[in-house]
């Protein structure tokens, strides 16, 4: 029985430990290789993303497939360099076709891309089926190129991958300024005498290289995601291109680590899909939680604005009620407020509570009353509202009936300096177009003292 348990497969946990202890030195190499690929593909793909050429990577990866198969057929070898060159050539043929078709025929760029992509992919699949039927050695594993398998990579594969990816990263660092200039404003780059065509060719070459060395790891079908998703996610985190590229390459590296690990622990698992799934997860996390551009941040900002507007509206309503009583009676019930400003009762109650907390109003049996601080704030809002009404009436020649709606919104965003500017530009800053007095700073203080 003891001997039998020894034969049982090791647990996932043990496998995982073995993976990270790098008991198999090959693991370390594959891991390094996939990290390098993740980084370089993210960086070079980032430029394609910025130039709105996102789909080009997808087409080029598919276009590489027949090249791989032809190289294998012609040379009957799996030598990484020969396969690489085969893929490079066929990918480049695809690239020129995509470039040539729209320039010389009536076919538009998107159609050219789709036609090239599907044609080359179909060609590659045909050759692959043909090879599967042949009686040749070491053909097994060729089909892994469709979805990628880190575990199937040989030492030669990884060496080549390392050289190529380091070359890509170094080139991007060297030519960063020029690449950015071309991505930002290509026609301007031409006018200052930059050899734009040469740089574009270099960019294309780098993308093709990243795609081709990535095939073993990620596979033909999903290569595009490795090029684009990191940059798409990184755009949520920064507004500076260098930072964005660094973040993108980190995301690429993280997903490479996750997917390589899984591919090793569960050898039937293809690396490519796992890499894309982990990248997409990172993308969704960025989309939701990024500090400035994330959806959550935007949602909470909107919520805060809504709260602020509700609070300020109630302050204004209290001021108007006060005004109606000629500043004699200053306690008002919830019903008084609601009669003047329609607002759901639940929102009104919660907002009143908030205002009490901020000591802008006090609540007692007689009702709600503006505090000194609250009165000042309410007078300020009313002043801004009425100044803006006046401005629209005087300068934009809107009738008094038309100005209220806009002033209701503008009152919440006017700043002190804009208020001062308004006063300067207005001939009448005493009363609004409806004949109401415009409260000024000193008077509101005086009234506050009277209370």
């Amino acid at each position: 029985m003891d001997a039998f348990t020894l034969l049982a497969p090791p647990s996932t946990w043990q496998n995982w430990l073995a993976f990270w202890r790098f008991e198999d030195i090959n693991v370390l190499w594959v891991l390094m290789g996939s990290i390098l690929l993740g980084m370089s593909a993210s960086v070079i793909g980032g430029f394609a993303f910025l130039r709105k050429r996102s789909l080009i990577g997808d087409a080029l990866a598919h276009a590489a497939l027949p090249g791989v198969m032809m190289a294998f057929l012609l040379f009957q070898t799996r030598d990484p360099l020969i396969i690489f060159l085969g893929a490079l050539i066929s990918s480049f043929i695809g690239f020129f076709l995509i470039d040539w078709l729209p320039k010389n025929t009536k076919i538009k760029a998107d159609a050219a891309l789709a036609i090239t992509l599907s044609f080359f992919f179909a060609l590659g699949l045909m050759l692959l089926s043909y090879i599967q039927g042949l009686e040749v050695s070491n053909k097994s594993g060729l089909d892994k190129i469709l979805f990628g398998q880190a575990a199937a990579m040989t030492e030669g594969d990884i060496k080549l991958l390392a050289y190529v990816t380091v070359f890509i990263l170094v080139t991007v660092v060297l030519f960063f300024q020029k690449f950015r200039l071309i991505a930002f404003n290509q026609s301007y780059a031409r006018t200052i005498g930059l050899a734009v065509n040469r740089y574009e060719l270099l960019l294309a070459l780098l993308i093709v290289m990243a795609v081709v060395v990535g095939l073993q790891l990620v596979g033909v079908v999903l290569m595009a995601a490795i090029l684009l998703t990191p940059m798409a996610a990184a755009r949520f985190w920064s507004n500076q291109l260098p930072h964005t590229l660094i973040i993108a390459s980190l995301l690429g590296a993280i997903s490479a680590i996750i997917s390589t690990q899984i591919s090793y622990l569960a050898p039937a698992m293809p690396t490519g899909p796992w890499m894309v799934v982990s990248l997409s997860t990172l993308f969704i996390l960025s989309l939701l939680f990024a500090p400035q551009r994330g959806l959550l941040k935007r949602y909470s900002e909107y919520n805060q604005l809504r709260k602020k507007v509700a609070e300020e509206n109630i302050l204004r309503t209290l001021y108007k009620l006060l005004e109606r009583q000629n500043f004699t009676h200053n306690h008002f019930m919830q019903a008084d407020i609601q009669a003047m400003r329609s607002m759901p009762s639940s929102q009104l109650q919660s907002t009143l509570k908030l205002l009490c907390k901020k000591a802008l109003i006090t609540s007692s049996l007689q009702g709600f009353k503006l505090t000194d601080k609250g009165l000042e704030k309410a007078a300020q809002l009313t002043r801004r509202h009425r100044l803006w009404e006046n401005y629209l009436n005087e300068q934009a020649e809107l009738s008094p009936e038309q100005v209220h709606q806009q002033a209701e919104r503008i009152e919440h965003i006017l700043t002190e300096s804009q208020e001062a500017q308004l006063k300067l530009e207005l001939t009448n800053s005493q009363s609004d177009p409806h004949g109401n007095l415009i409260p000024d700073n000193t008077r509101s203080k005086k009234e506050a003292k009277l209370k």
Partner: protein, 267 residues
């Protein structure tokens, strides 16, 4: 052409028999003119007259069908550093992750070698250009946060950083605020006092006489070119805005479609 009798130095820009097309539709046919040095020059015409196309053709950004453009008597390739181009604002993606200073620094890249980075001197030139356009306070701003007028000033600062002697601008006054309009006028004055030449595509007939010394009227062909007071006549404006010569257009289009100009030996 008629006015430019004897130049000591070759004109900043001379255009001879320039023709351009879009697919088979003729956009410009046989346009010829020379511009004087140290003046502000406007290219004026109705919508679709080919004003921007002319500027792009001159700058080699769009293919020309025939004709020749010379900068100070030479092809553009020899005079790149003397020439600065300001594209239309709409042409670029203002959401691009870059700040104002880096955009202006791009103006220095014509002078830089292959992988050279901008030096301290380049930075100082960019700084001065931003200060000249009163945009220095915005140097660290994201370009997406700028107003239309500020965007235009960034573009002008970038061109200024090129330290060129000829400036070609595509609609610099389009959609800008009053402050920017004033800033551009001031810039024109400063550049003119240094003997520099400015060529603008301009759409506003009300201001063209005030802002520019020299006018080129086009509508698919050259209507008139010369000093503002001579060119801005009712007759010329009627010709420019009164519609195109339909026969000229139709036959030129047919010529392009039939590839007659290839079949027919030139000269």
């Amino acid at each position: 052409m008629a006015n430019s009798s004897k130049h000591q130095t070759p004109p900043p820009v001379s255009v001879q028999n320039l023709s351009m097309r879009y697919h088979h539709k003729p956009v410009l046919t046989d346009v010829s003119f020379e511009v004087p040095e140290g003046k502000t020059i406007a290219i004026v015409g109705p919508n679709g007259a080919g004003k921007s196309t002319l500027l792009k053709g001159i700058m080699g950004l769009e293919p020309i069908m025939g004709g020749q453009v010379r900068f100070f008597g030479e092809p553009l390739a020899n005079k790149r550093l003397a020439t600065a181009y300001v594209p239309q604002r709409e042409e670029i993606d203002w959401d691009f992750p870059i700040n104002v200073f880096d955009v202006v620094l791009m103006g220095r890249h014509g002078q830089l070698k292959l992988w050279q980075r901008p030096s301290q001197i380049d930075r100082e030139i960019a700084e001065q250009a931003l200060k000249d356009l009163e945009m220095w306070d915005f140097k660290d701003r994201q370009i997406s946060e700028l107003s239309g007028g500020q965007q235009q000033r960034v573009f002008l600062a970038r061109a200024l950083a090129q330290k060129a002697s000829l400036y070609l601008m595509d609609e610099p006054f389009a959609g800008v605020d009053v402050a920017t309009e004033k800033a551009i006028i001031e810039l024109f004055k400063a550049l003119k006092s240094q003997g520099k030449t400015i060529i603008c595509v301009h759409h506003d007939l009300n201001t063209v006489g005030e802002y520019f010394d020299w006018i080129i009227l086009i509508n698919a062909r050259l209507v008139a070119a010369g000093p503002a007071e001579e060119v801005l006549t009712t007759e010329n404006l009627n010709k420019t805005y009164g519609g195109r010569l339909s026969l000229l257009n139709d036959l030129t289009e047919k010529m392009y479609r039939t590839q007659l100009n290839k079949a027919h030996d030139t000269d």
